[in-house]
Symmetry: C2
Subunit: 239 residues, 2 copies
């Protein structure tokens, strides 16, 4: 265990850190397509869908459009991509089904065991750009044992805006140094550290697929660096 | 099971419906006082504390004072009552300890078993005037298996203001008829029904002590009426 003071709450980035969105979505598309005899480059479509994630939130962050939750942004991006992939004929029910694939993402193998151990000692919750409904349904589908689900709407701000982090600490009635962000993304941790949070980096070297080039290792002086959630539980003294 | 359509989410009033605040607080004061040789009418003090609950929120609802969370309102009311009961000498740490007794309230005996059954089929969460931090710590202390913790700050409105209910449904991305409020208070259910929620009344006839005169039975055409959470799970077809 480190000689850091201990946080009271651990808040987790979700997409990539907790759940393997890329493999989960590719599997969803393949199952969906197999049942309908559809063909497309599903991995490319999924990578493009995720590539539209930051631009879609940036339109909200910058004030170019009014507040919109991630379910809505995901749906708009999906509509764009279906057209590009020759799938314009898909109807409303199919589009809802595919958009809510984000509610059915699968956790990395260490996650449920690691969170269960961490929960024995800390408040554990989400600090995600996902909407509360998305995160709540994902947790039910995947068995994620959160104590509290904080989403983009509870802050009405998308990370890495400072308010997204501030709202997380404020909603738990904690000063930022008593909260630790756990994330697989150095940029997210840097923004949290700027707000006074403790930080833990977890490597997820295949989040973006086999050719991932970013976030392969810790790039800042984070409070903790661990290979997965169970290793973090070890470092934090959770059985 | 009734012939009602089924909700997707059950949101619960907490103080009185889920936890027995009166007995829990009296026990907290007695333990606290016993260790210090203090004497006062603790049951009276607790009843007075709860009696200040509505007036303290009303000052926020009416706009007479800026937004304040329940932890802050509880602390102000406690300070007033300690002075009235000759306990002005209590220091800061003791006042924090007593205020956070609301984080340590005990559930009624049927609650954990009933919630666990209901969780197998529905999203279960809080729709409380408590702050998120209070409700999160209460859930950890009492083992309440919420899927989602919605507090007064997530709506920035205190029940029975319409926005408190609307925000609950909106944060779950559900139309109000797909959400059912479970409460031991007819007034809370009436306000929820006005917003289109389904409703379930659970009798808690000793919430206010042995002489309770209110909310002894259902006083409206609620969707469900049950004697406790396990009976509600029976009615909703949850094993």
């Amino acid at each position: 265990m480190s000689d850091h003071p201990m946080p009271e709450a651990l808040l987790f980035d979700v997409f990539g850190t907790v759940v393997d969105w890329r493999s989960s979505l590719i599997a969803e598309f393949e199952t969906f397509a197999g049942a309908r005899g559809l063909q497309a480059d599903w991995a490319a479509l999924v990578d493009q869908w995720r590539a539209l994630y930051q631009p879609s939130m940036e339109a909200v962050r910058s004030g170019k459009r009014p507040w919109a939750i991630l379910d809505v942004l995901h749906r708009e991006s999906l509509d764009t991509l279906l057209a590009q992939h020759g799938l314009s004929a898909l109807g409303e029910a199919d589009r809802v089904h595919l958009t809510t694939a984000w509610h059915r993402l699968k956790p990395w193998p260490d996650v449920v065991a690691g969170l269960t151990r961490l929960k024995s000692r800390f408040i554990i919750g989400t600090l995600s750009n996902g909407n509360v409904g998305l995160l709540t349904r994902m947790a039910k589908n995947a068995g994620l044992p959160w104590d509290v689900v904080l989403g983009a709407e509870t802050a009405r701000a998308y990370k890495p805006m400072p308010e997204a982090y501030r709202a997380g600490a404020r909603l738990l009635n904690l000063p930022p140094p008593r909260v630790m962000l756990v994330a697989a993304h150095n940029g997210d941790l840097a923004a949290a550290a700027s707000e006074g949070f403790m930080t833990a980096f977890i490597a997820r070297p295949t989040e973006y697929g086999p050719a991932q080039a970013r976030d392969l290792k810790a790039e800042g002086a984070w409070s903790f660096v661990a290979s997965d959630f169970c290793a973090l539980a070890d470092q934090l003294g959770c059985r």
